[in-house]
C-alpha cells in the first residue's frame, strides 16, 4: 500500500508539473494556431536529417519507476538505476494476465535475460530510446536510420513495401508522410527483443506504428503505438521528444558491443591454464 501511495503521489506531482507546463506554453493564444513548420528537403518533404537522441530513462523502464539499486554490487552508484516518470500514455502497459506474470519473471531475471546484456539487436521502438544517438539519412527515395548501439540499422521503404519473407530483429519498416509527420509501419519483428531493461516484452505478433513529428529545429516528437493481441489487452502508446545532437562534429560513432560480450557468452569455453 505504501508503495502504491508513493507511486500515486509521484504521478500526481508529475501530472501537476505537466499541467503547469502546458498552461504556460499555451498562454499566448497564437501558439496553437501556428504549428511549427519544419524545413524542407529539395523534394519538398519534411527534413528529418540529423543525429538524434532521446534523453530519458525509458530504456530502464517504459513505465514510471523510482530509482533503485543496481544489479551489480561492484558498480555502486554507477550501476544504480535512475528513476523516471514513464513514457507510457496512461501509465500502465495493458498486459494480459499471463503476460503480466512473464513480465514479472523477466524483471527478476533481467541481469541474464535482457537481450541488451548480450549485445543483441534492439528491435523497434527500443532502438529509438537507448542511451545512444542515431542518425536519420533521408534521401529522395528511402530513409536510412542507423543506430550507434550494436551497429543496428533499418531502411524505411518509402516506395515499395512488400513484407519480409521471415521475421527479423529490426523488422520491416514501411514509411509514408502524413503532413509534416513521418509515419512508419513496423512489422515482421521476432519475439526475441525487449522494450527495456525492466523486462517489458512482446511476441512475434508485434505491430508498431511510429510517428516522427518536428517540434522545433532541434526536437522531434516521437510516438509509437504498440499492438500485440498475444500479449496486451489493447493497443498502447509511448511518446517522448527526441533531441538533435548539436555538436558541430556530431556523428554516430562505433559501439560494436559484440567484442564486449564475448567473455560473458564464450568465456566458459576458454581453455583452462595447464590443460
Amino acid at each position: 500500500m505504501q508503495k502504491k501511495w508513493v507511486r500515486g503521489a509521484l504521478f500526481a506531482s508529475a501530472a501537476a508539473v505537466l499541467a503547469t507546463a502546458f498552461h504556460l506554453g499555451a498562454t499566448p493564444a497564437a501558439r496553437a494556431a501556428e504549428p511549427y513548420k519544419a524545413p524542407r528537403t529539395a523534394d519538398g518533404k519534411t527534413d528529418l536529417n540529423g543525429v538524434w537522441q532521446a534523453v530519458n530513462t525509458a530504456n530502464w523502464d517504459l513505465q514510471e519507476h523510482v530509482a533503485r539499486t543496481g544489479l551489480v554490487v561492484a558498480l555502486g552508484a554507477v550501476g544504480a538505476e535512475p528513476g523516471g516518470l514513464g513514457v507510457v500514455e496512461g501509465g500502465e502497459i495493458p498486459y494480459l494476465p499471463e503476460a503480466a506474470a512473464k513480465k514479472k519473471a523477466n524483471f527478476e531475471n533481467r541481469l541474464t535475460d535482457d537481450p541488451e546484456i548480450k549485445c543483441y539487436l534492439p528491435g523497434v521502438p527500443r532502438a529509438t530510446y537507448m542511451p545512444y544517438p542515431f542518425q536519420i539519412v533521408q534521401t529522395s527515395k528511402d530513409i536510412l536510420i542507423a543506430y550507434e548501439y550494436a551497429g543496428a540499422m533499418r531502411t524505411i521503404e518509402m516506395t515499395k513495401t512488400p513484407a519480409n519473407p521471415a521475421d527479423s530483429w529490426m523488422g520491416h519498416s514501411a514509411g509514408h508522410w502524413e503532413g509534416d509527420t513521418l509515419v512508419i509501419d513496423v512489422t515482421g519483428q521476432n519475439d526475441q527483443t525487449w522494450f527495456d531493461r525492466a523486462g517489458d516484452f512482446h511476441s512475434d505478433a508485434l505491430h508498431v506504428v511510429e510517428r516522427y513529428t518536428p517540434m522545433s529545429p532541434d526536437a522531434l516528437m516521437y510516438e509509437a503505438t504498440i499492438e500485440d493481441p498475444k500479449v496486451y489487452s489493447r493497443p498502447w502508446k509511448i511518446s517522448m521528444p527526441l533531441y538533435r545532437r548539436l555538436e558541430k562534429n556530431a556523428q554516430i560513432t562505433e559501439f560494436r558491443c559484440v567484442a564486449f560480450v564475448e567473455e560473458l557468452l564464450y568465456g566458459k569455453f576458454r581453455k583452462q591454464a595447464g590443460k
Binding site: V137, T139, L144, N164, P165, W169, E262, K271
Partner: protein, 358 residues
C-alpha cells in the same frame, strides 16, 4: 538475398549464356547515369559485387592481364567454376579445391587468408556445400584476370620485413595442422568474421566473397551512407570537409568528397586488426565510386599500408545494379557456431586426455 540463389538456379545457365553472347555491348546498353537534384551522380540503390575474378592474378596465368578473347575468358570461367564447386569436393583435399584464384595458393589442406571466416574449413571438412554458397560465377566484364590492376602483375606487392613477419605468424597459426583442427583456445583465436565483429566481404574495403556480396548506398545532403549486407555494417561518411577524428575504429574513420563525378572516400584510423588480410592500424584506404552507366558502379580501392607492403596497390571491382532488397544479416545473434567451435575443441582435448598414451 539468399533466396535469390534458389530462384536463380534454374536461370543460371541462361544468364551465363546471355552474358557470353554480348559482354562487350553491356556498357552501351546500360543507359545514362542518373543524377540527383544537386547535380551529383545518383549512386543510390543496391549493388551486387559478386565475381569469380580473383583478387590476385592466378600464377599460372603469368603475364596475361586480360583474357585475349571471349572464348578464352569463358573457358577459364568454366574451369574455375568447376574447380570451386563445393559439391565436387575431394574429401582428401578438402577446402583446397574451393580456394579462389591460383590453384597453388597454399599448402594442401590449409585455409587461405580472408576465407576461413566465410565458412572455409580444414581438409575434408569444408563448411557449407554449393547450395549455401553465393559467390560470383562470372568474370569481370573487362576480362581482366585479377581485381588488382596495379601493380601491373596483378599481385600483391612485396611485403616489408615487418609485414612479412606478421603475415608469417598469422599464416603459421592458420596452417598449423598439428592439432588436427583449427586453433580455438578461446574466441580470440577465431577470425573477426567468425566472431561477427567484421563481415568477411564488407571491408572496408569491400571484396567479393562467399555470399551476400551486396551493398546499398544512400545519399543525403552532406552525407553518403554505405550499408553492407554483411553484417549490417553501416558507414555514414560526411562529405562536408570536416577533418578525420583520432579514435581507432573497426572500420576506420571515413571522410568523403567528390572529384568530378567520382565519390572519393578516404579512411584512416583503423585498429590493429582490419578486414583486409595482413593490413593493420597504419592502413590508409582510398575508395572511389564511379557510376559508369545505369547498371554499373565501378568500385576502385587503393591500399596503402607502408608498414606491411613496400608500395600501395589498387583493385577495381565492378558492381552491378540489383533490384532485390537486402534482408537483415543478424550475425552475432545467431552465432551458435562460436560456442560449438570452442566447446568442440574442449571436448576434443578431453577425449585426447582419456586416450591411453602410446
Amino acid at each position: 538475398m539468399k533466396r535469390q540463389l534458389v530462384t536463380s538456379m534454374g536461370s543460371l545457365s541462361i544468364a551465363i549464356a546471355a552474358a557470353l553472347l554480348a559482354p562487350a555491348s553491356a556498357a552501351e546498353q546500360g543507359g545514362a547515369v542518373p543524377r540527383l537534384a544537386d547535380g551529383h551522380p545518383d549512386l543510390q540503390g543496391v549493388w551486387d559485387y559478386r565475381t569469380i575474378t580473383p583478387m590476385q592474378r592466378p600464377l599460372e596465368l603469368g603475364t596475361k592481364a586480360f583474357f585475349a578473347s571471349d572464348e578464352e575468358a569463358a573457358a577459364w570461367e568454366r574451369t574455375e567454376n568447376l574447380r570451386q564447386n563445393r559439391d565436387a569436393e575431394d574429401s582428401e583435399a578438402g577446402g583446397e579445391t574451393h580456394q579462389p584464384g591460383d590453384a597453388a595458393f597454399g599448402p594442401k589442406g590449409s585455409v587461405p587468408q580472408g576465407w576461413a571466416g566465410a565458412g572455409g574449413g580444414v581438409a575434408g571438412r569444408a563448411a557449407y556445400n554449393e547450395f549455401w554458397w553465393d559467390r560470383g560465377n562470372k568474370i569481370v566484364g573487362t576480362k581482366r584476370t585479377s581485381l588488382i590492376v596495379d601493380p601491373p602483375d596483378g599481385r600483391y606487392p612485396a611485403m616489408t620485413p615487418e609485414g612479412q613477419k606478421m603475415a608469417d605468424l598469422i599464416a603459421a597459426g592458420r596452417n598449423d595442422t598439428n592439432l588436427g583442427r583449427p586453433h580455438a583456445d578461446s574466441y580470440e583465436d577465431r577470425p573477426l568474421a567468425e566472431r561477427c565483429i567484421l563481415g568477411f566481404n564488407s571491408g572496408p574495403p569491400m571484396t567479393p566473397g562467399a555470399y551476400n556480396n551486396n551493398v546499398e548506398l544512400f545519399q543525403a545532403p552532406g552525407y553518403v551512407a554505405i550499408v553492407n549486407e554483411m553484417i549490417h555494417d553501416t558507414r555514414i561518411v560526411p562529405l562536408d570537409g570536416r577533418p578525420h577524428g583520432h579514435v581507432p575504429l573497426w572500420r576506420g574513420d571515413s571522410r568523403g568528397h567528390w572529384e568530378g563525378d567520382t565519390l572519393v572516400v578516404d579512411t584512416i584510423n583503423f585498429k590493429r586488426e582490419t578486414s583486409f588480410p595482413n593490413s593493420g592500424a597504419n592502413l590508409h584506404l582510398v575508395e572511389k565510386f564511379t557510376r559508369t552507366d545505369a547498371d554499373t558502379l565501378m568500385y576502385e580501392f587503393t591500399i596503402d599500408d607502408p608498414s606491411v607492403w613496400t608500395r600501395p596497390f589498387t583493385a577495381v571491382v565492378p558492381m552491378r545494379k540489383s533490384d532485390q532488397p537486402i534482408y537483415e544479416y543478424a550475425c552475432h545473434e545467431g552465432n551458435y557456431a562460436m560456442a560449438s567451435i570452442l566447446a568442440g575443441a574442449r571436448a576434443a582435448e578431453k577425449a585426447a586426455e582419456a586416450k591411453p598414451s602410446k
